[in-house]
Structure formats: structure tokens, C-alpha cells
Amino acid sequence: MPSLQGVFDAPGPVAEAAKRLKNRGFSDLEIYAPAPFPELDDVLDPKPSRVRVYTLGGGLLGVVTGYAMAIWMSNDWPAMIGGKPFAAIPTYTVIGFELTILFGALATLLGLLLVGRLPYGSFGKNDKGYDKRFSSEEFGLVVGCRERDVAEVDALLRAHHAKEVNLVEA
């Protein structure tokens, strides 16, 4: 089934075009942008990104691991150190804190990969509708539709100041 690729200059029109298409019931949409733009974020998927879940989870895991490790290890072979307690919580806070950050950061990276579906496709051998111009300064809106809708989509895209519209897949 065919898909059309609209090329835009600015994020705004892309967003509007995408909204319109979505309302018209076109579900197979993909937006390509050279840089992050808030207006594009929620067009296709209004739900807040789930990356934060990973970060939080990693952080919590880290703090627990940090304290637990320090306390258990110090008691596994108790050696008297300068008359300090074996479970010296204040000092172990440093360990807990550092592991919070460490695990949090790694989890965030993991989140990015999973949520962002990376590594994606065939490592960027231009997939459907992707164009190196999109890594320049232009925006792309790729719509998959039925034969009979091609004309409509084309018109709609142009109506939203698409510089050009290409049929990237017959």
C-alpha cells in the first residue's frame, strides 16, 4: 500500500497536518524532525513518555542496593574500624547515593533505547519515507494510506505548506 511523504520547512505545519490526518482516521503516520520540538512531541502519541519510569526504577534499585550492600558486607566479616559501628548509616549514605545515580543513569539509557525503539530498523538504511534532508533542516510527514486516499492526503499535505509531496511507496 502506498505512502506519501510531505516535506516541510517548519514544525508547526507538520503538527497541524498530522493532527488533521489523525482526525481523518489515518493511523499510519510518522514524523521526521531535525531537532526536538515540543509541538511535535504529543501529536502522534499524547501519552507522557515512559522513560521516567525507567529512571525512577533504576534510582530506587540503586539506593536499596547501595545501603544493603554496604551493611551486609560490613557485617559479613565484622572488622572493628576505628571504633565505628558496623552499620554506619551516615557513611553508607554516600554509597547509597552514588548507586542511585549510577543505576538511574543506566536505566535512563535503557529507557531511551526501549521507548525510542533503538537500535531502530536496519540501522538507518533509509527506511520507508526517511530522507537525509530530515537530518538537515527539513521536516517530514509520512502517511501510509489506501490507493483511493492518495489524492486527498496529497491535497491535505500541500494545504499545510508542504514544499513537496512524494509518493515514496507505490
Binding site: 513518555s49 539509557l109 537525509k132
Partner: protein
């Protein structure tokens, strides 16, 4: 603050060329190596080799080739370690904290700053290995399960260090990498040959779809959230390497904030010292403007004041405490055989930065360069003062002593700078030294505004 200058006209007509000017300008840094570049790289590699050989010899023959003496068990190695850790703070600070403050002007310098962070941490990390007496047993410091059934001492500041530094290194690398992904994708689309392969791999198939950008910006946000307290913690932990001891001149509650301020101070200075020539050589004036430099200068002035305040406080507390050991230690700092290090420190860190009160000077690039260089020197001497002079005058006057660095220490010290420079030179040719996508973000916004204005 003065508003950001209007973007160069060329950007308003991106279709005149097949590719955007931003891409071409910023990627051009990466291609083509001049003889000058090779000369520079060669020199650094030479020095690094010399330092490496010295290190190997030291491992073989023993730390005796360094200048340690009875009361002074820590020397130039630890001084330089703390110095580099300090440098490492600018990057994360600029990218993370300024990001949270939405200080958009950071966009053009944060990449190189983050890169510097990673490199500085790598350099600093090596010094822990150089410093210890039995590096072949240094793995004992890791809490790994072993047949002996032995664990590590989590009460030791050095153990905290191990965790803090490794965490910091990992996080900074993650931070840098996530920021790089979109730019690597840009490069992937524009290069052929081995670079193509390399970037294809590193870009992880980035295409800049809406979903990817969404996840990306969230990750950057969260990482910034994590990195900000981390930056503050890391140098606090390093400061506790000293503050947790009972050595007069080390055992001070002010150390954590004092060190953090100092770190930011030296970090910004180092960014200036490096970026000014880079901008000059690669003609990036359009992206890294005096406006950026001026803001950096402002921050340097601020932190310099904080650091200066810390110096005063230290002396005041030493005097006010009435503890004779503290008093004589600080007196010794200022007027003992190490007076030069103390006064270098004060001149470079407190006096020179005051020039930035004057707009003419803080926008005058040569001045910026000179002052920031002096600040780096001053900050190295600050650590020298703290470590060496305090150890030289401890509780038992019978075993007071004098420490003088040896050729070995100085070689390795020089090697660390060469190592840092080498990494940066390689980085410049391998990866975008300015965050392309962030610059575009700004540029496209500008253009949008311009367009609306036209209507």
C-alpha cells in the same frame, strides 16, 4: 542579560544549498587534518609516551622515585588528581544545570564541555592508579565476591571516591553519548567509507522520528536531573578525602562547598582555555559567540568570589579556633617555604578574576584566555597548598618535613595535560564538537519567529 544576537542571514535560505549551512559548518570541523593538527597530536602523543614509560618504571622500581618524605605521604599525583576532577565538573554543570535553568545559550558549548568532562575524569582516574603503591593489587578496592571472603571498608573516604568517580565517569559518558546520537545520525547521512560504518553503528538507527525525539528529550531531562546532584556530590566526596581526616588544615566543614565552587571555577576556566583557540582555529565564531564567553566570564567571577570567601573563612576559623596546631599550619601555608604556592593561588584565583567586573575586559577574548589560564594554574596550586603544606606541618613537630616533587612526578604531571589534549584532538576529528541539533533547534525557532513576524 543582552539578548542573543540575530542568527546569520545565510540560515534564512536553507534551500540554496543541498545541505544546511549549520551541518556544513559544524561537520567541516571533523574533516580534513592540517599538518598543524598532526604536529600538535604528535607532540601530545610523545609526552604521553614519556609519562607512560615513567609510570611503568615507577611500578617496577617503586614509588621511591617520587619526592615523598616522612610526613608528606601524598604529593603531586593526588594534587593533579583533584585538579582534573575539578576540571571535570564544568561539562556536566553546563549541560545539566544550565539545561535545567533553560539557559539556551549553553547549547553551542555544552558538547565540548561534556567531552572535556569525560576526558578529565579519565585523566583523573589514572592518577589513582599512579598514586597507589601496589597497583597490581588495586582491585582489592572493589567490593567483588572473592574466595578470601574479604570485603571493603565503606567507611573510608577513598572507598566513597571509588564509587563517586566511577559513577561520575559512567554517567558523563551516558550523558555525552545520548546527546551525540542525533548528531552522529547527521554525520552518518553525510559520510561515506569507514566513517559511514562507524556512525551507522553509533547512531543506533536514529531517524529523528517524533517518538525518538520525545524519548530523547525526556532522557536528557532526567539525566540532567540526576547529574546535577551528582556533580555536587562528586567533588564533595573528593573534598571529604581530606575533610574526614584529622590533619590540621584538612579537617574543615567548609571543604565540600569550597571544593565544589573551586571545581566549577576551574571547570569554566578550562572550557574557556580550550574553546577560545578551538573557535579561532575552526572559525566557529558564528556558533560560539562572545556572548557565550561573557556569560562564562560572569560565572568565573562569581565562583572566584566564593572561592576567595572560602580562603578567608579557612584562615579565620584557624585563628578563631584557638587550636595551636591549626594556627601554625596555616601560618606555615602563608609564610613557610611554600609561601609561593599560597600566594600564586590567591593571586590567580582571587585577584585576576576581578578584572571581569569590567565589561570591556570580559568581552575581550585575549584577556579571557590569559585570565582563564591563570585560574587553571591557580587552582592547581590551591590543591598543592591544601595537600602538601598541611601534611608538612602536622601534630608532631619532630617529624615536620619538606616535600619537593621529582622529575618522575613532573613528567607524569605534564603527561596528564598531554593526555587530555590528545583525547580532545582525537574527539574533534571524530565527533561533532558542537551540538548540531541543538543549534538547529535554536535556528529553526528563530526562522519560525522571523516568518511569523513577516506575516
Amino acid at each position: 542579560m543582552t539578548p542573543p544576537p540575530a542568527l546569520p542571514a545565510a540560515l534564512e535560505h536553507p534551500h540554496e544549498t543541498s545541505d544546511s549551512k549549520i551541518n556544513r559548518d559544524l561537520l567541516s570541523v571533523m574533516d580534513g587534518v592540517s599538518p598543524g593538527y598532526f604536529l600538535l597530536l604528535g607532540t601530545t602523543i610523545l609526552v604521553v609516551t614519556a609519562a607512560a614509560l615513567t609510570w611503568i618504571y615507577q611500578i617496577y622500581i617503586g614509588l621511591g622515585i617520587a619526592g615523598y618524605t616522612h610526613p608528606v605521604f601524598w604529593g603531586v599525583y593526588i594534587v593533579t588528581f583533584v585538579f582534573w576532577i575539578g576540571i571535570a565538573h564544568a561539562g556536566t554543570l553546563i549541560s545539566a544545570i544550565l539545561f535545567l535553568f533553560r539557559a539556551k545559550w549553553r547549547n553551542s558549548i555544552n558538547r565540548s564541555a561534556e567531552a572535556m568532562t569525560v576526558m578529565a575524569v579519565m585523566t583523573a582516574g589514572m592518577f589513582l592508579g599512579i598514586h597507589v603503591g601496589r597497583i597490581w593489587k588495586a582491585y582489592f578496592i572493589l567490593p567483588y565476591p572473592n574466595q578470601r571472603g574479604l570485603w571493603v571498608n565503606f567507611r573510608s573516604p577513598l572507598e566513597w571516591d571509588t564509587f563517586a568517580i566511577s559513577t561520575y565517569a559512567t554517567t558523563s559518558i551516558v550523558f555525552l553519548f545520548i546527546g551525540l546520537i542525533p548528531d552522529i545520525a547527521i554525520a552518518r547521512d553525510r559520510y561515506a567509507g569507514w566513517r559511514k560504518l562507524l556512525y551507522t553503528g553509533l547512531a543506533l538507527g536514529w531517524q529523528g522520528t517524533a517518538r525518538q525525539w520525545k524519548a530523547h528529550s525526556r532522557s536528557v531531562l532526567h539525566l540532567s536531573g540526576l547529574a546535577t546532584p551528582l556533580v555536587l556530590s562528586v567533588h564533595s566526596v573528593v573534598s571529604w578525602d581530606f575533610a574526614m581526616s584529622i590533619v590540621p588544615g584538612w579537617h574543615a566543614t567548609i571543604f565540600a562547598p569550597y571544593f565544589v565552587a573551586g571545581a566549577i571555577f576551574s571547570g569554566f576556566a578550562m572550557v574557556l582555555t580550550v574553546m577560545i583557540p578551538v573557535r579561532r582555529v575552526f572559525g566557529l565564531e558564528e556558533y560560539i559567540t562572545n556572548y557565550h564567553f561573557e556569560n562564562m566570564a560572569r560565572l568565573i567571577l562569581l565562583t572566584s568570589l566564593i572561592v576567595g570567601y572560602a580562603y578567608v573563612t579557612e584562615y579565620f576559623v584557624a585563628w578563631y579556633s584557638g587550636v595551636e596546631a591549626e594556627q601554625s599550619a596555616f601560618w606555615f601555608r602563608a609564610f613557610g617555604p611554600y609561601w609561593f604556592s599560597t600566594w600564586t593561588m590567591i593571586t590567580c584565583n582571587v585577584v585576576f578574576p576581578q578584572l571581569f567586573w569590567f565589561k570591556r575586559l570580559r568581552t575581550h577574548v585575549p584577556t579571557l584566555f590569559v585570565v582563564s589560564t591563570f585560574v587553571n594554574i591557580g587552582m592547581w596550586f590551591e590543591r598543592y597548598v591544601i595537600i602538601i603544606t598541611s601534611l608538612g606541618r602536622e601534630y608532631d613537630p619532630a617529624v615536620w618535613g619538606i616535600y619537593t616533587p621529582t622529575w618522575a612526578e613532573l613528567t607524569i604531571f605534564a603527561g596528564s595535560f598531554a593526555f587530555f589534549a590528545m583525547l580532545f584532538l582525537i574527539f574533534m576529528k571524530l565527533l561533532p564538537v558542537v551540538a548540531i541539533y541543538e543549534v538547529k533547534e535554536l535556528a529553526i525557532h528563530e526562522r519560525a519567529h522571523a516568518a511569523e513576524g513577516a506575516h
